[in-house]
């Protein structure tokens, strides 16, 4: 089964970084509804540093690329999202010790990332966080693990999007939105939106968010 090579993976990760930077204002607007309005600021700061690092740091494995993104985000974003996305990418890097990214390899990596984020932040699925976009993406990738990764990523599109939409009806129990309680309903989670955006850009889809 074929997969993405290092250069291809790097290009797609770079596109994902750029999609986040471009969505800065829209992500802030989403965070204003249920948080403190800065989600886009921190994400853009971290992922623009990640794009720069990808361009300069050498990589022997696809995992090195994920690690480069994770370290840049962890070191530059700050806030909850810096720790969450930094942890996600750094943990995802661990199993990716080859020079090819396959569908099941990505699913395993995201699974590792998901566990690390849950451990780090203490949150569970269903609490209106980025976890609610990651978990369904992994599940979708698993159902098509035989498929080529470029096809599989597209198949997973619906799952990530559905995951984001599902956060609309959830009540926040962590992060800055938690005091809103019932009033947090009706708004999607900004971190979940960011993850869906990263997936879309990585899949080579149009990855823009309406402000």
């Amino acid at each position: 089964m074929s997969g993405l090579g290092i250069e291809d993976t790097k290009a797609r990760l770079t596109a994902a970084c750029e999609a986040i930077v471009a969505a800065k204002d829209a992500l802030c607007a989403a965070d204003r509804a249920i948080g403190d309005g800065d989600h886009g600021v921190g994400m853009a700061r971290g992922f623009s540093a990640a794009a720069e690092a990808l361009a300069t740091k050498p990589a022997a494995t696809v995992g090195d690329l994920f690690k480069t993104v994770g370290m840049a985000v962890m070191g530059k974003s700050g806030g909850a999202s810096g720790a969450v996305f930094g942890t996600l990418f750094m943990a995802a890097a661990k199993p990716l010790d080859g020079d090819t990214l396959t569908t099941s390899g990505l699913a395993d990596a995201l699974q590792e990332g998901l566990e690390a984020v849950k451990k780090r932040g203490g949150a569970q699925e269903g609490q209106k966080t980025v976890l609610d976009a990651i978990a369904p993406t992994i599940a979708a990738l698993r159902t098509v693990s035989g498929e080529d990764i470029t096809t599989a990523l597209k198949t997973a599109a619906g799952a990530a999007k559905a995951g984001v939409d599902a956060t609309k009806d959830m009540v926040a129990r962590t992060g800055k939105a938690r005091t809103l309680g019932e009033r947090s309903k009706g708004h999607v989670d900004p971190g979940a939106q960011s993850f869906a955006l990263i997936r879309a850009a990585f899949a080579g889809e149009d990855a823009t968010l309406a402000g």
């Binding site: 948080g35 962890m74 700050g78 806030g79 909850a80 999202s81 810096g82 720790a83 949150a123």
Partner: protein, 333 residues
Amino acid sequence: MGAKTKKIVNDVEALVPEVIEGLVLASHGSLTPVPGVNALMRTDIPDDKVALLIGGGSGHEPMYTAYVGDGLADASVCGNIFAAPTPDIILEATKAIHRGKGVLFVYGNYAGDNMNFDIAAELAEAEGITVKTVRVMDDVAVPKPEDRRGIGGAFYQVKAAGAICRTATSLDQAAADLERMREGLRTVGVAVGAGSLPETGEPTFHLPDDELEIGMGAHGEPGVERRKMMDATSLAKEMTRLVVDDLPFRSGDRVAMLLNNLGATTMMELLIVNRTVRSELEAAGIEVARTDIGPYLTCQEMAGFSLTLQRLDDAIEGWINAPCRSPAFAQGA
């Protein structure tokens, strides 16, 4: 939506280092930047001291940035506006102030801060530095105690932590003392107008012209209840009730009380509020032994305030009343 708030700033990307530089200059030699990261520290940390590190997102000045000095923190670490500092900042500051007795981390209980400080603590432990953490979690607007945010009461926690670490012989004891104190600390906030994020110029929320929000967080993240604007007396009664009933504070208790200005509210208003809080507490048999009124933890130009009560015993009162010096707060013996 009105015009963007005018801020007297330069490049917003360089905002935090400029704040640190301004503060170091204002300290006249008692503070210095931690090289390479957005943090600052005392120049005169005694050997053998249990070190105290505080911090969080910027934009709440003087908290946490400016409460560094003798009798207060040994370092503060500064995230970007309303964003927890990254682990590398925290780690560098931790290493810079460690004097062999371990480092106490004191910061507000937010997902972002918890994760970033925890990562830094693990990295520090890996380098052989013992870290203990006490999270400020005083906001009664959040129902579940373990989820509570750290707001105005951070001032009493930082003040006491400074006094405790000044004489503490062990990190464990310092952390235990501060945690015991925290059991008697409660705060509630209210906003009548929004502050704005310097990076975007946008207000962090929108309140109708005739409403206020009780339980508003220190970043403008939503509170518990929107209400029609009310007079100072009604509002003060409501807020006193929320704080007193939560612990609950009881007849015979002695307390320290803080009316924290969130930004654009006047001292005039807070003094008017103070009247009613005092008469309500007196009616409940609660004695106020100390009053602090002013901007201690702000949220940019947010209009509103928070009311904090700290239950006292002799030890806690001693820590709060102990002398200290910093660019933002000083008191004599």
